[in-house]
């Protein structure tokens, strides 16, 4: 590998390394191509933000489920039939009037991938990881989320094997919506805490 200051490594260098790695892993019998492809398929087809959206929509419509979710999210999400990998215990933190939550992993890029799928690139980049613990309001503002003055912003640094997900507040104007319909309002970023759910008028 040849580091070259601030320049990005060319994709071809990463591609060559990845191809060589897969060749030696499979030819030596350490992992199979089928196992690699099964993981890719799982994340391309079955696991993603739509899973978290179902959890949030259920919590918005079922107060008893919401209570179980906030008490023991790892167990509660199992009540919903969907494909997920519970690779780590899950903690769900609720937004409420006056309190906004946002999730980060400053040491690597821990994320509830088994539920929400692959994390966005910016979540893994140095700018977000370094800054959101020190200046969360500035970072959220740059990302288009302005918090009301006087609100508390709670930052959760996933420094151990717990994974954090934000339970956003239900938007106004959808009181009579079903959980299935509500799920369409729930964005990936609203479950990280860097955005809000869509408004009914936005879908």
């Amino acid at each position: 590998m040849s580091g070259n200051g601030g320049h990005k490594h060319s994709h071809s260098e990463n591609e060559l390394r990845a191809e060589a790695l897969e060749a030696v892993l499979t030819e030596k019998g350490i992992v199979t191509a089928e196992a690699i492809e099964a993981v890719i398929r799982l994340f391309e087809e079955d696991i993603g933000p739509m899973n978290g959206a179902r959890v949030v929509a259920r919590a918005w419509t079922d107060p008893a489920f919401r209570a179980r979710l906030l008490d023991d999210a790892t167990t509660a999400v199992g009540e919903i039939e969907m494909v997920m990998i519970l690779e780590a215990p899950l903690v769900v933190v609720p937004n409420e009037p006056g309190v906004h939550n946002v999730v980060v992993c400053t040491l690597c890029s821990c994320y509830p991938s088994g539920l929400l799928g692959i994390s966005p690139s910016w979540y893994k980049d140095p700018a977000y990881r370094s800054r959101v613990v020190r200046e969360p309001r500035n970072v959220l503002s740059e990302m288009g989320l302005e918090l009301e003055p006087g609100w508390e912003v709670r930052v959760w640094d996933s420094s151990a094997e717990l994974r954090y997900m934000v339970l956003p507040e239900r938007p106004p104007g959808c009181d009579d919506w079903s959980a299935e319909r509500l799920a369409a309002l729930v964005t990936r970023d609203s479950m990280i805490g860097t955005g809000r759910p869509r408004l009914p008028s936005e879908i």
Binding site: G6, E13, N14, A18, F43, G48, S130, E135, A160
Partner: protein, 213 residues
């Protein structure tokens, strides 16, 4: 270790570049590396703590330039070499077109971790509401103690079950489970008078990182 990976609170990385939801994987090689990482861990080629520590040991200039999945690939090579599955330089030779030097190897998998929680006999040292202070620890090996909370005072907000200790497990020194505490730090305690107010940070910290505050 005090390394480039320990980014919390550091300056100089510029603005966040938000993206849209986009495709799940941005390129084929990233998807393949993602699949390889999960498959290697599932096959017992390494535990997650050793894997994270291999990422942390990437030279800082490479850590910053190869991107997320580039780091995964380098870390996998490091682990495979350290465990004797690959010779140093073998991967680069392969990338340059050389044939694989040896046939199948006997993988001696580590048993799957079976979760992270463990039962320990002792009671937790701290209860919810306890004042704690983070010890001034600088181990050269793996740790999950972010540098920005060292020496800082906080309050325990949640007591979790004992968990596998990454500091030992990454180095093959056993699971050594310890209680895990969620600790909330006031923003002024962390960042001084210039801090954004009403912006507490919660960090999950193992028993050995903490002293009564």
């Amino acid at each position: 270790m005090d390394g480039i990976h320990d980014m919390g609170g550091t300056h100089g990385f510029g603005r966040v570049s938000p993206d849209s939801d986009g495709p799940v994987f941005h390129s084929v090689w990233e998807a393949r590396v993602h699949g390889m990482g999960y498959a290697l861990l599932a096959a017992g080629g390494a535990n997650i703590d050793a894997y994270r520590h291999a990422i942390e040991r990437i030279a800082p200039r490479d850590y910053l330039s190869v991107g997320y999945y580039g780091r995964w690939a380098i870390a996998m090579e490091t682990l495979l070499v350290e465990r004797g599955y690959l010779r140093p330089g073998e991967l680069a030779a392969r990338a340059a077109g050389a044939p694989v030097s040896s046939g199948p190897v006997d993988v001696a998998p580590e048993p799957p971790a079976n979760g992270f929680f463990r039962d320990v006999a002792a009671d937790p040292r701290f209860a919810v509401g306890a004042d704690v202070r983070v010890r001034n620890l600088h181990p050269a090996g793996h740790t999950r103690l972010p540098g920005y909370v060292r020496g800082k005072r906080g309050v325990v907000t949640r007591v979790h079950r004992a968990c596998i200790l990454p500091d030992t497990n990454a180095h093959g020194l056993g699971e050594c489970p310890e209680y895990l505490f969620s600790v909330r730090f006031d923003s002024v305690e962390l960042w001084g008078d210039q801090a954004e107010l009403a912006a507490p940070v919660s960090v999950d910290l193992f028993d050995r990182y903490l002293a009564a505050g």
